[in-house]
């Protein structure tokens, strides 16, 4: 097939971690449908459900990067358009939350290991965020790698303390308070 003459003029995140809104230019040969995939290879893409008549709303299913093709009776568009569904932070937050939940579900196993050292110990917390959220120990902190995260005093710094402990995302530094 020669490929459709339709053009994806707009492809935007609908803001619900699932759908994208699509505007198509051109006159279709027959009905319009859409393909979507995780890579820019149409052979790996699949049909997606679309509603509306322009803009169309397609259900992509979950966040992240999607490549989208429009197709009609002449075939699919040669070049896909891309959209990122959801914020990058939202995926990282989902991962962090999932890890926290897994770690908390593993608490009995972690405690069994700790009891080789401290016979009566219990794991007090599993947190996703920053050190400040842990206030009972032993604790596990899954660090939140937020894109807008800069600096924080951690884990127990206070204005009268003699030292500050600071971290930036994955980097750990320590400096004396001046």
């Amino acid at each position: 097939m020669p490929g459709t003459g339709l053009v994806l003029s707009s492809l935007v995140d609908a803001g619900d971690n699932n759908h994208a809104s699509i505007t198509v230019l051109g006159t279709p040969n027959g009905s319009i449908s859409f393909l979507a995939g995780r890579t820019p290879e149409v052979s790996l893409a699949s049909s997606v459900t679309a509603t509306g008549t322009g803009p169309y709303v397609v259900a992509l299913g979950n966040p992240g990067c999607w490549f989208v093709w429009v197709q009609d009776g002449d075939g699919e568009s040669v070049t896909p358009a891309a959209v990122w569904i959801g914020g990058i932070d939202s995926i990282l937050n989902d991962i962090g939350t999932k890890l926290r939940d897994i770690l908390w579900s593993l608490a009995p196993g972690i405690e069994a290991a700790l009891r080789k050292i401290y016979p009566d110990v219990t794991l007090k917390q599993a947190c996703f965020g920053y050190d400040q959220q842990a206030d009972q120990y032993p604790a596990i902190v899954v660090w939140k790698p937020s894109a807008d995260y800069t600096w924080t005093t951690a884990p127990y710094g206070n204005s009268s303390g003699s030292r500050w402990l600071s971290r930036a995302s994955c980097c750990i530094t320590r400096k004396s308070r001046s």
């Binding site: 971690n17 979507a36 995939g37 995780r38 890579t39 790996l44 893409a45 699949s46 997606v48 259900a59 992509l60 299913g61 979950n62 966040p63 992240g64 999607w66 959801g86 939202s90 995926i91 990282l92 989902d94 991962i95 962090g96 939350t97 999932k98 890890l99 897994i102 770690l103 593993l106 196993g109 972690i110 290991a113 700790l114 080789k116 050292i117 050190d131 842990a134 120990y137 032993p138 604790a139 596990i140 902190v141 899954v142 660090w143 790698p145 884990p155 127990y156 206070n158 303390g161 003699s162 030292r163 402990l165 994955c170 750990i172 320590r174």
Partner: protein, 84 residues
């Protein structure tokens, strides 16, 4: 993703052995086959998830308070899947 496993002490600590045992236990549990492929609540699948390195540090927290922390580096890949 960085995972910190933190022990807190009211006395000065000078060795990392216990923090490393804590972190090592967490790493072993997370590296079980059941957690190599996981699915987020959004439905997005991850694969090849594992803890691939660890380090430990002792932090002087405050007057008379110390922490020993094992930091684990956890990695996972977004799974490229066809939409359902």
């Amino acid at each position: 993703m960085v995972i910190s496993c933190v022990l807190l002490y009211n006395t000065e600590v000078s060795e990392l052995k216990e923090a490393l045992q804590f972190g090592g236990a967490v790493a072993q549990l997370l590296n079980q086959p059941a957690y190599v492929d996981i699915t987020l609540d959004s439905g997005l699948p991850l694969y090849g998830c594992h803890v691939d390195s660890a380090s430990a540090q002792i932090y002087p927290v405050d007057e008379g308070t110390w922490s020993a922390t094992a930091n684990l580096m956890w990695a996972g890949e977004l799974l490229l899947v066809k939409p359902s």
